[in-house]
């Protein structure tokens, strides 16, 4: 097992290096003058020369590349052109919101996706099966931004004065101000990495409300999270339901299931104890892979629901042509994606011995 883990980690290093190279190539070698892109079409020659000197664009490509790699390795992703703050600071401030949204969405998607898939497979060709698959097909076909807008319209406008109305935008209601965890715990003077960690968690609304023992904020934070996380969860949920269904149908046709049935086990036991365990392995891979879609979807969901997350940061940076931010966030999010998939692969190998022996 250790052997497998080490090999997988070593194999992902070139991919991470490749990501750095790819982002560098995209931003430096493709047509399009960064100066004109950032300062506008009418920038003067002198302004551009100063700009190029400041960002090192006048250096030879190889020098630029080495500088860039050195900066990334030391955690320097440059300064946002619009805000003037380091990109790393922006990421630390805004990533927690996205992590919270993505985690809740992935939980919803996995839980309900598997449930729907199992129900569909065990009642094959029934009305439940057909309607679940229609739902799954619609779910993978509707764009996140359309679903998000429709949900917002339905729950905030049509159901406006009912008890189940939900807020269509922002992370908190106006006037609700979260307390920093460190401050609430009387550790306001704390510095260093521990404080950084507490601040990071502070930026996630639900953990914040729980850790600062603020039930009012908790209710508010949860209510604001429902619509965006449902919108974001729908596509992965539909995909997971489809994979669970086909994988479970495959397993249910195998010999050992026939044996289990012949032993006189109830259908429920056959599915839950024997079939599902094997059927869920491909589902685990899909859950890991959905993360990429989830991050892409977060760009759209956060834009629609006005969340100050990393996805919104990207779409704002696009509008402002702040491409230092786009570049830095792309690097970090992509590396994060590789790391998460690495973890998924390793846990997959842990669950299924065949994987680590065959590879």
């Amino acid at each position: 097992m250790t052997n497998y883990i080490v090999r997988r980690i070593l194999a992902s290093l070139p991919v991470i290096f490749g990501i750095l190279v790819a982002v560098f190539v995209i931003t430096r070698l493709l047509p399009g003058d960064p100066c004109r892109a950032l300062l506008g079409e009418k920038a003067t020659e002198a302004a551009c020369a100063a700009f190029n000197a400041r960002y090192g664009f006048d250096q030879p490509m190889i020098v630029q590349f080495v500088t860039y790699i050195r900066q990334v390795l030391t955690g320097d992703l440059g300064d946002s052109i619009r805000f003037g703050v380091p990109v790393t600071q922006l990421i630390v401030d805004r990533l927690p919101t996205t992590i919270e949204l993505a985690t809740i969405s992935l939980t919803i998607a996995t839980f309900f996706g598997i449930k729907l898939g199992v129900r569909s497979a065990t009642k094959r060709n029934s009305r439940t099966d057909v309607s679940t698959m229609i739902f799954a097909n619609l779910g993978v076909s509707i764009p996140v931004f359309v679903l998000g807008l429709l949900l917002a319209y339905f729950f905030a406008v049509i159901l406006k004065d009912t008890p189940i109305a939900l807020p269509p935008a922002n992370r908190y209601s106006a006037g609700v101000i979260p307390t920093e965890i460190a401050v609430a715990w009387g550790l306001g003077g704390l510095q260093g990495p521990l404080r950084g960690l507490l601040d990071f968690i502070s930026n996630m609304a639900i953990p914040n409300a729980i850790l600062t023992l603020n039930p009012g904020n908790l209710v508010d934070a949860v209510r604001h999270l429902i619509l965006p996380s449902v919108a974001l969860a729908t596509i992965p949920m539909a995909v997971i339901a489809r994979i669970t269904r086909s994988s479970l149908l495959d397993v249910l046709g195998s010999d050992y299931i026939r044996t289990a049935r012949a032993k006189g086990l109830s259908e429920r036991e056959v599915v839950a104890k024997h079939a599902l365990r094997n059927a869920l392995l491909p589902v685990a891979t899909i859950v890991g892979l959905s993360l990429g879609g989830l991050l892409s979807g977060a760009v759209l969901t956060e834009t629609i629901f006005g969340f100050a997350g990393i996805g919104r940061t990207i779409s704002d940076a696009i509008t402002a042509r702040d491409y230092v931010v786009v570049q830095g966030v792309t690097v970090i999010v992509s590396i994060g994606y590789v790391v998460v998939n690495l973890i998924v692969d390793i846990s997959y190998a842990y669950l299924d011995p065949r994987v680590r022996i065959n590879s």
Binding site: P14, G18, V144, G292, S296, I318, V326
Partner: protein
């Protein structure tokens, strides 16, 4: 199999696949949706009484911004706008219809681009093998390591917004999928007898690859491509929604929704109709793609 041989008409592989495709209800639904879409796209000028970019404010008495749907069949007396008017007083119905044309074009062009480049890379990779294979596949791995929409956004931010650039970016991001599929098919064909036979007859390696191996490796690519069209349409619409793709006043579904999304609460029709159009289009390609996969995948024919 024996039944097929006994029947009076010859069961060509094509005919068998077609029958197995049409036997699926979902595939038929997809095909019907696709038909509607094609008719809408081809007949957009006939069915829509307005130009998609015509601002009607001074041209038509009573035309107001964001007017809701007005259908004479349901007793509406003003000029007929069955999907209403948008924020710039343009007819939403004709914009949605013309958007169908654009979306189909976008879907086929983007996927076509990715298929051509991806197949070429995958075929060379699988056929030549060795360090070429290794290098090409590592590059593909890196491209696959990015969350796709994010990479596309990064590319478009750098090369500049616009529909062509967006298609290019989405196409580039999709290349590794086709490269992998093609490589896998080529690997399975490379050592088959008919390839050895061509080689023995003195055919050049290039001619073997392009004349013998590639044509036989196309089926999985076609299936993947059909499924990919829906995804490409979704991604291009998403980038247009963010303002990176089609630029105003082009009638593109994603940018229609993006431009008027803040007006959703007062005039939902500006979002709902293009939204339904995207969903139905993507659904159509997904259903047809699933149907093709089930009809063509030999492993599924039991």
């Amino acid at each position: 199999m024996s039944g097929a041989r006994a029947s009076s008409r010859v069961q060509t592989p094509f005919r068998r696949a077609l029958r197995s495709f049409l036997e699926q209800r979902t595939a038929r639904v997809g095909l019907a949706l696709l038909g509607v879409l094609l008719i809408a796209a081809l007949g957009a000028d006939v069915f829509a009484s307005y130009s998609p970019i015509d601002v009607l404010i001074d041209k038509e008495p009573g035309a107001v911004r964001l007017a809701g749907p007005c259908i004479s069949l349901f007793g509406c007396e003003g000029p007929q706008h069955i999907f209403g008017l948008d924020n710039n007083v343009r007819d939403v119905f004709s914009r949605v219809l013309h958007g169908a044309r654009l979306s189909l074009q976008v879907g086929f062009l983007t996927v076509g681009f990715a298929i051509v480049l991806g197949s070429l890379i995958g075929a060379v990779s699988g056929f030549v093998g060795g360090w070429v294979d290794n290098l090409l596949m590592r590059i593909m791995d890196v491209l696959l390591a990015f969350p796709s929409l994010l990479l596309a956004i990064a590319i478009v931010t750098v090369i500049g917004p616009g529909l062509i650039n967006t298609q290019l970016a989405i196409g580039v991001v999709a290349i590794p999928i086709y490269a992998r599929v093609m490589r896998a098919s080529v690997l399975s064909l490379r050592d088959r007898e008919f390839v050895a036979a061509s080689r023995a007859l003195g055919a050049s390696e290039t001619s073997i690859l392009f004349r013998k191996v590639l044509p036989n490796a196309l089926t999985p690519i076609i299936v993947q491509g059909t499924l990919g069209i829906g995804g490409a349409i979704l991604d291009v619409a998403a980038l247009s929604f963010l303002g990176l793709g089609a630029q105003p006043p082009t009638a593109e579904w994603g940018s229609m929704i993006g431009a008027d999304r803040n007006l959703l609460f007062s005039s939902p029709h500006v979002v709902i109709f293009p939204g339904i159009a995207i969903t139905m289009t993507v659904l159509a390609f997904n259903l047809v793609g699933d149907g093709l996969r089930d009809a063509l995948d030999p492993r599924l024919q039991r």
